[in-house]
Amino acid sequence: MKRLKEIIKNISIQFRRFKLASTLNLVELCIAISTFFLFITKVEEEVRYNTCFKDWRQIYRIEVNGKFFGAENDTIANLFAPMRNIVSTIPNVKDVGIMESSSTSITLKYHDLDTNEDKTYTCHYFNGYAEYLRFFNIEFIDSLAHHSDEDIIVPESFAMKTHGMTHISGKKVSWSHNGFTTTRRIAGVYKDFPRNCSVHNGFYQYGKNNDGDSFTNMIYRIYVRVEDDSCIPQIEKDILNKILELNNNGHLNLTYPESISVKLHDIHDAYFSGIDEIEDKGNWTMTKILFFSAILIFVLTNVNFINLTLAIAPMRIKNINTRRVLGASRMSIVINLMAESLFLIIFAFVISMTLLLCLDEVVVGNVNPLDHLRITGFTFVLIIWAAIVSSAYPAWFSTSFAPDIALKGTFGLTALSRRLRTIRISFQMIVCLVATTVITALLIQQQFILHADYGFNTDNVLYGTIQTPEAREHKNEIRRDIEQIEGVESVSYSKFCIGTDDRYVKWSLLTNDKKYNIFTNVMPVDRFYLKTLGIEITDGRDVCASDSGAFIFNEAARRKYPWLKTGHPMFPYDNDSPTDHNVVGFCKNIIFSSLRIKNDEEALMFFIPGKEDPYYNTLSTINIRIAEGKDTEELRDKINEVYNRYSGNLKTENGLNLSNIKDYLAKLYFEEYNFLIQLTIIAAIFMFITLIGVFCITLFECEYRRKEIAIRKVFGATTTQVTRIFLRKYLTLTICSTLISLPFSYMLIDKLMSRFTLHSEYTFLAFPIAFLLVALAILGTVAIQSYRAAKFRIRN
């Protein structure tokens, strides 16, 4: 107890003496420990995805690859419901599970007994197949002896939240969705599935839904549990035969049945495959980044801690050796010093875990340390190890001098120790520079996505959808009336909203003599489209009223197919309306699909069907260019008013659902944005930790070198000169660190940017900007601290 009191006293003295640096050090420790815990939790969650199921290594998801309904090769994991029964008859398949991929999100109201407030509960509602959850080892906590097809089962978390107990079978729940109220009886309460698995904790209804017999409603993921891995090729073959059989029987209508193949994908690996956009959200790159980031945070924290304990050590040598003179053994002092570090780091650990407990209520995902005892324990062991390692050398150093000599003289670090300190600071600076460069590059790319030159007007064009059949019949009137609204410059129709998807329709076209053919992306539009979007014609002309149909290609198409000329008639091959049309012109390349595709190399054809062409009716996207500086909200109301005049009885709340391209882009690049945001947060944490480290070390260094500053001043150095000495040293370090960091930053940025085929041409600016920012932060700190130290009275 006496020793503990002494430790606390010493720490509090240190905190009083170096308020800012000690507080920042503690904050940095807390952030580093919390971040390390969060990252490892997330990594574990990803790495152990779907491993909660019994025999998970024997569970596979059925995937089908091939050309199903067109010329494009594709892999799908969503199949039709009858597949479950068909597969269950195949030998060596122990069991078959089915999971609906498109569930309904429902919200219901309940009264919270704890807070005495009305609250809402949102979850997924799966219409049917509740009994098949046994495939995923569902564990019932409470259930009725008998249930009907109308009954549902609910998760334990719902029962606890809404009723405060798990025995709620027999009770009824109601919710409203799309204006309809549904009431269901609870037939059972199941134990929640972990977050990191394919089964959602929602309401599952018994029986099967209306699509249960449909071969066309492909929204079901089918899982099989196999006897033995060696049977997999045979099972795949058997499933393929069953599919081909269905095709022969007319249940399926496959375009190229010979191209079809079946794959059983193990459920853990499938999560990282990206085949199912909704389910396969696993990202190995991100997981690896998180793992290595956790390790790097741990190393950086160690470095910070060693730097700080070493920085304080020389200032404490006199005190320490006075104790030795008065009879304390070297070992007891070393133990005391190490215990101080241990105490501090355990204190930071406790704060971090408390912080995570509080965060658990507000962040998505379970970050409760009590629910991850293994990781909590692992983190604790690691930080204890870190504290011992970080404090051992400073403790040994502080007690390494003969007490009488230590009391007489001044003792700094040895040349080797100083060199090692420089290396450690440089390491921090390098990490800080790499992190800052990456953040800057990612932010530049983010801005580029939003503000890139798409080759057409992205700022002033609103997009909407003609939704009702009545409105589709009055497209010309709608255009005429909208164009009369003040502030609207032009209106046109197209089949798709340009620039907002990865892929569009592709057609094969032949010349009339069938000598040449081309394969191109097709954008069916009306004759006002290019004008509305401001797409520049580079050769030939735009479409005019007298054209009964026409094609306009982009420059990439002309480069790819040099024989393509204006005036050439072409006709679509294998198309519903094989009418030939003339190529009337060429337009400049535009970013017509997402930045993930090499737009500059992709052929694009604007197909402008005549009014009699059946294709004309499919142009249901309305494109409205408004004058610059006009109030969009006001115009939206007026446009919707016109639309509603022609939309018959089915008036929708939002009219045309008008959005600008930025809204579409935000949805299109959601994954990238998410990735960028996650990376930015990670990089920002690194930047913060390293900056705090460098800040504290300069603070301590200035304090420690105060005597040196005084000596220099005695021998004629002015305050400016002293400040300059410190600045020069740190500027040299910053420049050297920048040079070392350059290849690392470049490689990292190159790797991260490989997700985009088009990069901002200003990404290179990230390097000087990062240098300036880091240099400013570091040199600013050094300048202020050294100036303050240099301003002290020399005699003191």
Binding site: G412, K713, F715, R795
Partner: protein, 225 residues
Amino acid sequence: MLRLENIKKSFSTDEIETVALNGVSLEVKEGDFLAIMGPSGCGKSTLLNIIGLLDVPNEGKYYLNDREVSTLNENDRTRLRRGTIGFVFQSFNLIDELNVEENIELPLTYIGTKKDERKRLVSELLKKLNMGHRATHFPQQLSGGQQQRVAIARAIISKPKLILADEPTGNLDSQNGKEVMELLKQLHEEGATIIMVTHSQRDALYADRIVNLLDGQIIEQDNMI
């Protein structure tokens, strides 16, 4: 060379005001070797700090080379100190981060001496002090006597007219102490003006003149010659 007229200096903490110097008047001529003696707390070091332009008096006038310097600001005092005054401290006050050579050349860097010239001067001086073989050593690798010799080398490298020594032998054994005093004597013989604060009667005997301080006042001045 320097003249102090009725110098007063006191230090105040929250509650207590301590008078360090109470009307000290003193004149030191060029080539003098002056020893300031007195019990602890009598104001010796404060007087030396004021003479060395490290501190300013609360009252009184201080003329250095006939220039009134007690009212100068810190930057002006620093500039005046450069190349004019050399300091030797009891605890050596060498910079741990710099080696012997770098420590010695420190005053030269602030008066703008070129690097080659600095190297030459340092090398010559180290040879003279028999410390040539220690040029690249760091302070903690030297004995107390060696450290003080380096400190003296640093004090005289810029050939100052005035050398201030604050108990230069206080941390040294008698043999090393004697060597340091011989060195100071040699410098004095070469024309340097030296003002030394000391507790040691033996060291004080090296001086031409001894000034005794008590409670911030000069109580006695003995001419040794």
